[in-house]
Amino acid sequence: MGVRERVREFAERSPRPFVVSAADGTGDRLAVEAGLRARRWRPALSPAETGVLVVCGRPGAALAEAIDVVWSAMPGPRARIRPDALDEIEPDRTRRDAGSSDDVGMADRADDRDGLRLDVLHVPLGPVLPDWPAGLRLDLALQGDVVQSAEAVMVDTGGGSFWTGREAARRLDGVARLLRVAGWDGAARRAAVLRDDLLDGRQVGSRLEAFERTIRRSRPLRWMTKGVGVLTPEAAERHGVPARYVGDVADRLDGWLRRIRLELDGAGTPDGDRDEALVSVLPGLVTGADLAQARLIVASLDPDLAVVTADG
C-alpha cells in the first residue's frame, strides 16, 4: 500500500487539468491559464489525459450537458473544480463502472469532390475543445479529413464581453490560441504571457516587438497559413463581416499583429466586432478545407460568443 500511496501523492502534486470555458468564462479561463503557468502545470489536450476538469464561467443548459458527457467519460481519480480552486483538488478515488453508452458513429455515403461515392462521417467540433471559441459548435460532415459541409451552432452565448476596452489583449489571446492550434506551443506561451502582462498593466514594449518579429519571420508559419480560409470581399460584405477579415489566415494574423501595435500606440479605433457575422461566415469558409485548416480558420476569426445575446 505504502508505495502506491506515495506514487499517488507524488503524482498529485502536478495535475494536468482539462479546462473548459463557457461563453462568459473568459476572465476565469485567463486566471486558470496564469495559475497553471505559475505552478508549472500544463493543461491537458483531451479529457482522456487526465481526471481533473476545470469549468470556467457559468455554462448554460446545453453546454452543461456537453460538459457532463465529457466528465462522465474521464478516467479516475477524478476531480471537478472551480477556476479559483486550483490548490484544492480533491480527487474522488472511488472506482466507477465505465458508462456503457453504445454510441456508434454515424456513417453514410455521399459524393465527394471528384464525384466518388465515399463514406461521410458526422463529427462535431466543439463545444468542449481546447483553444476553441467558447460556446461554439461546428457540425461537420467529413470525408476522410476533408470537410464536405458544415453548420455552426451557438451552444452557449451571452454574459457580456470580457474584452471591452481591452482590444490589444484580446488580439494577443487570439494570436496565442491560433499559434497553439498551429502546433507552436513556445510562441503561444510568449503571447499568453504578453497578454496577461498587458491586462495587469505591465510594460511589454520591447518584448512585444521581439515576439512580433519571431512570428513575422517564421516561414513555416507563413507556409502553413497562406491561402488557407480565403474570405473574399464579396462574402465578407454578404455576411456583414468587417473588411479587415478579408484574406487568408496569414493575412488575418498579420492584421491582428498590426492592430495590437496600433492599440498600444493609442491609435486604435474602437469598432464593434460583429461576432455573430463571424460565426455565420464560418461554414462557407471551412467547407472544402481539411480538419487542420478548419481549426486554423476558426482560430483566425475567433468569435466571442459572450457578446451575442440570446434573442440574436
Binding site: D102, P220, A292, L296
Partner: protein, 287 residues
Amino acid sequence: MVEVLLLGALAVAAASLDAALDGGPGPFRQAARLLVMERRMTPRADRPLTRIGVVSLPVAAALAALVVPFGGHAALDSRVGVVWFNAMEVVAWGSVWLAGWGVNSAFALVGGYRFIAQGLAYELPHMFALMTAALAAHSLDLRVIGAAQGGLWFGVWMPVAFAVYLLSALAMAFWGPFGAPLGADIAGGAALELSGPDRLVFLAGRYGLLAVASAVAVPLFLGGGDGPLLPAWLWSAVKACAVLALLVWTRRWSPVLRMDRFVQAAWTVLIPAVLLQMLVVAVVVVD
C-alpha cells in the same frame, strides 16, 4: 544490451529536457500521474488492436536500438543494421495507425492517417539519405559505416543527406514540426483516447524512437566513435546527446508542418536533392 539501456536513458533525458524547456513537470512525475490513473476504453473500441499499437511502439524502438553502435560495438551483431533500423522505424507507422484506429474516435483516426501520409512524405528521402551513407562506406553495417569515415565525417561532405536524415528523424518520431499525428488541433490525435498506463507506454515509445533516431545519426554522418581523448563509446554517446538535444529543441522553433503542403516539398525538392547528393557521392567513391 548495455547499448539498449543507454538509449533508454537517453529517451528519459529527452523527456526531461523537453519538460525543462517547456517549464512543465518532469517525466517521472508524468509517469507517476499516468500510472495511478484509471485505464479507460472508449465504447466499441478494438481493444486487441489498440493494445498492439500501443505496445509495439516502444518495442519497435527497443528492437531498433539493438543495432545502434556505441563506439564499434552494438547489442546485436548484424551486417544489415541500416535496413533493420529502417524496418523497425516503419513499425511505428503500424503502431500509430493502430492506436488511432482502434479506439473508435474520429479525431484519433485522423491522427493515425496523418502519420501514414507523413510516412509517405518522409520515407523516400529518408531511405535515399540512408543509402547515401551506406554507399560511401560500401556496407549496410552501422559499425562499418561509422568506422569508414576516417577524418572527414559524412555529415560534412554530404550535408544534404545529413539534413534530410535529421528532418526524417523528426518525422519518424512524429516530433516537433512533424507532430501533426498527435496534433493539438485534433485534441491529441492518435493519442487522444489513450489514458493511464496505455498513454505512458505510447509516449515512452515515442521518446525511445527519437533517441534511437538521434543515435543512428552518429555512425551514419558524425564519424561514429571518432574523437580525441575520450573512449569511442563515450564519443558516440556525447554526439548522440547533442543530436537528440537539437531534435528536442526544434519543437520550440516551428509550428507543425501539415502534410497537404509538406508532401509536395518532400517529393519535388527533397527527393531530387538527395538523389543528386547520392550521385555526387557515387562518383566520388567509385573514383
